[in-house]
């Protein structure tokens, strides 16, 4: 343990140079901006800035690029809460209850809780990376395709609680999400599925396109159609800082969210994106008032936001300890290291300790900066919302389009998002919840990939899911949850819950 503090001390001396503090601040500021702007994400931003970082030293450039990534996670919640449009795809969950809080005049509280939760999660995740990086990596490596598949099954079973309307509608939304995730070339044979011969569907649907369409454009259509509903948030923001009681009530959610996010963030295949969903499901499960979820429950903002930020940071673990990128942003970080002539891998910690520990230390500094940047900025964001809708909406749509175009320099992505916008509006009119669809989409892709990989590895034997102890345990938990959910007494409870809601 002492080693960790000595090493973090070394990191602090690196991170606390004037240049690195400035770069960290710059990264966090760009990240916040990118996060707040819907559609424009950290992947495109980092890709654009990659060549620029050539002129910086390796540590400084990585500190800045990392700041953009976790800064974007911070900023993404702001838009989600204030205008119900997730600034980042990962803020989809935050929008559910965050915006409801805002409509109740508690936007300040929601933003405050998100910021406090994120800061706490960021601090813990920094320590986790420093102290538990290597054991966490080992844990992540335990999850092969078989174990991952069972984890996803467990997630899917728990996912049902995400909905706060009819159970049937929620399940059908999840299934539609899974179906949408199957669009594109088959991973094993390359044959096209559900593409209708359209080239733009050949690589499947991007999650950002789906999220921006259904949640972003859909929300704008909704606002245009329903002018009364939209002035609520502008009227009152409420206080920013939670009371001691509110803090005490939500602290367990923050703690659990941090834990879930930290663990899932290490998993390959962008496990970090699962954190907010998992946290929401857990909070709703153990809440004394699950009927509040979906109607502005503070824990439903605090938990997922903490999970989101923790996951964003622990996804650096596989990159730093093994040089393996668990998601697209980390793949770009690998690129950034290679440009600088640093070979990513286990040896980075020995060969470039100042880079390794400096980057980790900078994350904590960055999180502190984000609180300082974001809280005063909330006033500014709120002022921006006072801009008349005839100017605000075209601006949001414009930024969405720029972001969507930048994914692959392809106008087809923008058109596809527009189509999803119409679908999103239709879903709203028919009272279908879009969040389970998003979850089904995220899980579906992993589910199929991992199922097929497992079966190829096992030579076609489905017993492989029971032979791996870890996988068997996860499946057992899922089966138990399913039994409890369909048992008569629980069903009565659940229906009552829905009636109240």
């Amino acid at each position: 343990m002492l080693d960790v503090f000595i090493n973090l001390g070394l990191g602090m001396t690196v991170a606390f140079t004037l240049q690195n503090i400035a770069l960290c601040f710059l990264g966090c500021l760009i990240g916040t901006l990118v996060g707040v702007l819907p559609g424009v994400g950290p992947v495109a931003t980092i890709a654009i800035l990659l060549p620029v970082t050539l002129s910086l030293d390796p540590t400084g450039s990585l500190i800045m690029l990392a700041g953009i990534y976790y800064g974007a996670q911070y900023g993404g919640s702001t838009t989600a809460i204030l205008v119900n449009i997730p600034g980042e795809a990962t803020a989809v969950v935050t929008a559910i209850d965050g915006h409801k809080m805002a409509q109740k005049g508690q936007a300040g509280l929601a933003l405050g809780l998100a910021a406090i939760g994120s800061f706490f999660a960021g601090t813990v995740a920094t320590i986790v990376i420093a102290a538990l990086g290597v054991p966490m990596t080992r844990m992540g490596l335990l999850f092969g395709p078989t174990e991952y598949f069972s984890l996803m099954i467990m997630g899917l079973v728990f996912a049902v609680v995400l909905a706060h309307g009819s159970l049937l509608k929620a399940v059908s939304m999840i299934l539609v999400g899974v179906l949408l995730s199957c669009v594109g070339a088959d991973m094993e044979t390359g044959r096209e599925r559900m593409t209708f011969g359209l080239e733009m569907l050949q690589d499947g649907i991007e999650f950002v396109v789906l999220a921006m369409g259904i949640f972003g454009f859909g929300e704008i259509f909704k606002n245009l159609a329903d002018p009364e509903a939209r002035d609520v948030v502008r009227s009152r923001i409420g206080r920013l800082w939670p009371t001691l009681k509110e803090l005490k009530d939500n602290f367990p959610a923050i703690l659990r969210g941090t834990f879930l996010g930290s663990v899932l963030g290490v998993l390959p295949g962008n496990g970090a994106i699962l954190g907010p969903f998992a946290s929401y499901a857990v909070e709703k499960r153990i809440s004394k008032r699950p009927q509040d979820f979906g109607h502005g429950a503070p824990a439903a903002v605090a938990g997922p936001e903490s999970a989101n930020n923790a996951g964003a940071q622990t996804s650096f673990i596989p990159l730093l300890t093994l040089g393996l990128p668990p998601n697209a942003v980390m793949a770009l970080m690998v690129g950034a290291m290679m440009i600088q002539g640093i070979v990513p891998g286990p040896q980075v910690i020995e060969r470039n300790p100042e880079l390794f520990w400096g980057l980790i230390a900078s994350m904590w500094i960055g999180n502190l900066m984000l609180v300082i940047i974001n809280l005063p900025l909330i006033g500014l964001w709120v002022k921006l919302l006072r801009v008349p809708y005839r100017l605000l909406f075209p601006a949001i749509v414009c930024f969405c389009c720029i972001g969507l175009y930048s994914i692959a320099n392809d106008a087809a992505q923008v058109m596809m998002a527009a189509l999803f916008g119409i679908i999103g509006y239709a879903l709203y009119k028919l009272e279908f919840e879009p969040a389970p669809l998003a979850l089904g989409f995220v899980l579906g892709r992993l589910l199929e990939e991992k199922l097929r990989q497992s079966l190829i590895i096992s030579g076609g034997s489905p017993l492989t899911f029971l032979q791996s102890p870890l996988s068997a345990i996860l499946l057992a938990i899922a089966a138990m949850a399913l039994v409890i959910a369909i048992s008569p007494s629980m069903r009565r409870n659940r229906d009552e819950v829905f009636k109240e809601a």
Binding site: M200, P326, G335
Partner: protein
């Protein structure tokens, strides 16, 4: 008076403008490049091909004396970039980084809107990137020969960066050359596949050098052979596959410069000369080495012959493995 003067000036300006607009096409040919050149890359920013393209483009700018802008056009299994380049004006202002997959493998697998063999014009070869055969902790073998021996059980699985990727084809060819049957587990990119190799969930990979070199140097993964015809400078102790006892086995991901069919000869020769100059820069060589590649200068004819040979060779591999999509 001032009025008349103005009119005269305006007229004169018009005249100048007219002459210039007539002269412009001629001048553009003489002074290529007179505007920024777009270098299309068929993969997303941050990947292996993108890295090599950016190193190349940065130095090419100096050699040509004009801007070269890298434009990432990923999509449709990297066939979108081919289409974009094939459909562009053949004026030398839209070029493409043509690499193994889309140039010579995909024509055997997909029904393409543009045939890279006939709709694109080879300009020069840029670099050659050998692959490396690596095993993870699940397999206790020390040489390529031992891997081939272990594979005779028929139970070994290998991971790849995806269907029809260089790592998939490299392993297919290894299996066909050595006469072994191994099962293919496709992943989405090399990263997650290497992850599962380190975790011991899959047995081996034939992957790009940058995706594994850190783990090889730290001893986490064992490199059995490189697939090029020469050893790789950063891995001096790793034999080539031929040295390791699999005769005739070479596979490499290569990168070249191509453009739309019908570019003016002067433009092509200027680009070829600029490529040669770029590839003799020590700094470029150093950066290419980081990306697992060695420069491989070839003129248009040699590059075209090389691609024709590669296309026939990989066609056989694809046919034998029956991975055709259509």
């Amino acid at each position: 008076m001032p009025m008349k003067f103005t009119r005269r000036v305006a007229l004169a300006l018009c005249g100048v403008a007219l002459t210039m607009s007539v002269a412009a096409p001629v001048m553009a040919e003489e002074a290529y490049p007179s505007k920024p050149i777009t270098l299309v890359v068929s993969y997303a920013a941050g990947g292996g091909t993108d890295a090599i393209a950016r190193v190349f483009a940065a130095r090419l700018e100096k050699a040509l004396g004009g801007r070269v802008i890298v434009e990432n056009r990923p999509g449709a299994a990297a066939n979108l970039g081919t289409e974009v380049a094939a459909a562009a004006d053949p004026d030398g202002y839209t070029l493409l980084i043509g690499n193994q997959g889309p140039m010579v493998v995909n024509p055997h697998i997909f029904k393409l809107k543009a045939d890279p063999g006939t709709d694109l014009d080879p300009i020069a070869m840029i670099a050659d990137a050998s692959l490396v055969v690596v095993v993870g902790p699940s397999l206790k073998v020390n040489t390529l020969g031992e891997l081939v021996e272990a594979a005779k059980s028929g139970e070994l699985v290998y991971g790849s960066a995806g269907n029809a990727s260089a790592s998939h084809l490299g392993a297919l060819l290894l299996g066909q050359t050595a006469g072994i049957k191994v099962r293919h587990v496709p992943y989405k990119g090399a990263g997650p596949a290497v992850n599962d190799l380190v975790g011991g969930h899959i047995d081996f990979m034939v992957t790009t050098i940058p995706s594994a070199i850190g783990l090889i140097e730290s001893g986490t993964l064992k490199a059995l052979a490189v697939t090029g015809d020469k050893r790789f400078a950063s891995l001096p102790d790793v034999p080539t596959a031929i040295e390791a006892g699999v005769p005739g086995y070479t596979a490499s991901a290569w990168y070249g410069l191509v453009g739309p069919k019908g570019m003016p000869a002067e433009v092509k020769s200027k680009l070829e000369a600029a490529t040669t100059e770029t590839l003799s820069d020590a700094d470029v060589l150093d950066k290419l080495k980081n990306d697992g590649a060695v420069p491989s200068a070839m003129g248009p004819q040699a590059f075209a012959d090389f691609m024709a040979k590669e296309r026939a060779r990989w066609g056989d591999v694809v046919k034998a493995a029956d991975i055709k999509v259509e």
